[in-house]
């Protein structure tokens, strides 16, 4: 057992300064570290560059509360519930810069980063306008001469994830329900310089040995106890999304996204 990684939310917020390149874990409405991000925005953070593979409430809340200057993602929305109103308005008006990726372009950038190399070639997104828009260049295969897209390593300064449980020393338990998107969190964490994980509860070393690990203690910088930390988003196998709160937000946001976001944070406590 190593030293304790457990720190207070306030101390963890200090690891994400103004202007940070912040990677946010979870996918769609699942496992988003909503409580931490809400606290970050309420603490007045500015000019964040967000990296969120498939975003929903994470990007939407931070944009609604004025904490963001740019967003890198493959999707920002609420699936069948609709678009992300604050994100859309800010991206359309130019108030924030939005960089759209395909799923393969985003994960290829992360995989270059986790492998410690400057770029990885891919055939993903071939023929798409996204490649030029992202400024991606071509590399020629030295063996076959094939032209491939070279995706540069995405290396965020700090990553924040939400998980069900961790040991005090920072080993993160694998999710109890391993849906198809759970592996994206480990990839994002390992691609980032520092890793903060908010958790529903602290578990014993024995329990996490039994459940298996998502990340090991040496890969994690801070653990923050944040029960109901993904609410009103979902944690697969633990609780579903609170669709009522989300619907109220989406109905209220077009008139004032900021007030709607503050109301959502209040309701989600």
């Amino acid at each position: 057992m190593g030293n304790s990684k457990l720190i207070s939310r306030v101390d963890a917020l200090a690891l994400v300064p103004d202007g940070a390149r912040l990677a946010v874990g979870g996918a769609l409405l699942r496992r988003k570290p909503v409580a931490f991000l809400a606290a970050l925005a309420k603490a007045g953070r500015r000019d964040l560059t967000l990296y969120s593979f498939l975003a929903s409430l994470d990007v939407e809340l931070l944009v609604a509360l004025g904490a963001v200057s740019s967003v890198h993602s493959g999707y920002v929305g609420f699936e069948q519930l609709g678009f992300a109103p604050a994100f859309r308005t800010a991206a359309d008006s130019g108030a924030i810069e939005a960089f759209e990726y395909s799923e393969i372009l985003f994960t290829t950038g992360l995989r270059a980063s986790v492998a410690g190399i400057p770029f990885l070639p891919t055939r993903g997104a071939g023929g798409s306008d996204l490649i030029a828009e992202l400024g991606l260049r071509t590399v020629t295969c030295p063996y076959t001469g094939e032209a491939l897209t070279a995706v540069p390593a995405l290396r965020p300064d700090v990553c924040v994830l939400h998980a069900e449980a961790a040991t005090e020393s920072g080993t993160i338990a694998a999710p109890s329900t391993r849906d198809f998107l759970f592996d994206a969190d480990a990839l994002l964490a390992r691609a980032s310089d520092r890793v903060i994980v908010t958790v529903e509860r602290i578990a014993s070393d024995e329990e996490v040995r039994e459940s298996g690990a998502l990340l090991y203690a040496f890969e994690v910088d801070a653990v923050v106890l944040e029960p109901r930390g993904a609410h009103p988003g979902a944690i697969p196998g633990v609780h579903g999304p609170d669709l009522e709160i989300l619907r109220r937000y989406l109905a209220a946001a077009p008139s004032s996204a900021r007030n709607a976001a503050l109301a959502l944070i209040e309701e989600s406590r």
């Binding site: 996918a27 769609l28 498939l54 993602s73 493959g74 999707y75 920002v76 929305g77 699936e79 069948q80 678009f83 992300a84 859309r88 991206a91 359309d92 939005a98 759209e100 395909s102 799923e103 393969i104 372009l105 994960t107 891919t122 055939r123 993903g124 997104a125 071939g126 023929g127 798409s128 306008d129 996204l130 329900t177 391993r178 849906d179 198809f180 998107l181 759970f182 592996d183 994206a184 990839l187 697969p236 196998g237 579903g240 669709l243």
Partner: protein, 260 residues
């Protein structure tokens, strides 16, 4: 006799494009694609391999489960592929078919799920293409669909090229089924009750229309029965039609509460 809705017609037309040996991925929030995949496997192509939200070869199920409790779909399947495994499978060209629902598709088979022009002509952002750009480059056969048949959906040229490789084998609309003949899209069939002129007027790219196209095959009673009782008893496919969206959302809200 049960009434046949527009979403039923689109589901059946998509299902009919499946071929033996196909490996088909179902994306998120596309209930018509999910229903078409299952219907194809049940009544047309028994060996169709379906991968739905990572669940490989899922048992027959109500498509509302994918919205309400995706872990149930996963449990009743061969197993769950992670997102990375799925993207790698795509990159090895092992996925042969996908039904996609872009905001726009043009005559060159280019897909747009990224940005469209608003009434003032300004580009406005959609939530994002997920893997659209990737599947356009890497999946053998794409079939695009939408409950629409207007220049908005079928423009001369898409406002933004999200997916550009042009592997779109067919397009199913609210009025017709279009098929690519290697050179251009032609009208393969026209939905019953639709005039050939409407099909031409609603499409801004060059479209071969002869006026002697057959009607789109009606979904057989067996298919409608399966949809109503097993695959989509709550009518979630109506999320993708203008007339049915509110009813489908209301139905989804009810079953979300029940499932807790």
């Amino acid at each position: 006799m049960t009434e046949i809705r527009l979403d039923d017609r689109i589901v059946w037309a998509l299902a009919r494009t499946c071929r033996p040996g196909d490996v088909l991925i179902v994306g998120v929030a596309t209930p018509i694609a999910a229903a078409a995949a299952q219907l194809a496997r049940e009544v047309l192509v028994p060996d169709l391999m379906i991968i739905e939200a990572g669940a490989v070869d899922p048992d027959r199920h109500d498509i509302a489960q994918a919205f309400v409790s995706p872990e149930q779909v996963a449990k009743n399947s061969a197993g769950v592929m992670t997102q990375n495994e799925m993207l790698e499978t795509l990159q090895r060209h092992r996925v042969t078919r996908q039904f996609v629902s872009p905001a726009q598709v043009d005559g060159a088979g280019r897909l747009n799920t990224s940005r469209v022009r608003d009434t003032n002509g300004n580009l406005t952002r959609l939530p994002g293409g997920l893997a659209t750009a990737d599947v356009a480059a890497l999946v053998g056969n794409l079939v695009a669909y939408r409950a629409d048949h207007s220049p908005r959906f079928l423009p001369a040229s898409v406002d933004f090229v999200t997916g550009g490789a042009g592997h779109v084998a067919g397009i199913v609309t609210s009025k017709a089924v279009l098929a690519h003949d290697g050179v251009q899209f032609r009208v393969a069939s026209i939905h019953p009750g639709v005039d050939a002129a409407e099909v031409a007027i609603g499409c801004s790219f060059p479209l071969a229309v002869t006026g002697s196209e057959p009607f789109t095959e009606e979904p057989p009673a067996e298919a409608i029965e399966l949809l109503r009782t097993v695959i989509d008893p709550h009518g979630i496919c109506r999320l993708e039609t203008r007339a049915g969206r509110d009813d489908a959302l209301a139905a989804l809200a009810t079953i979300t509460v029940l499932a807790r």
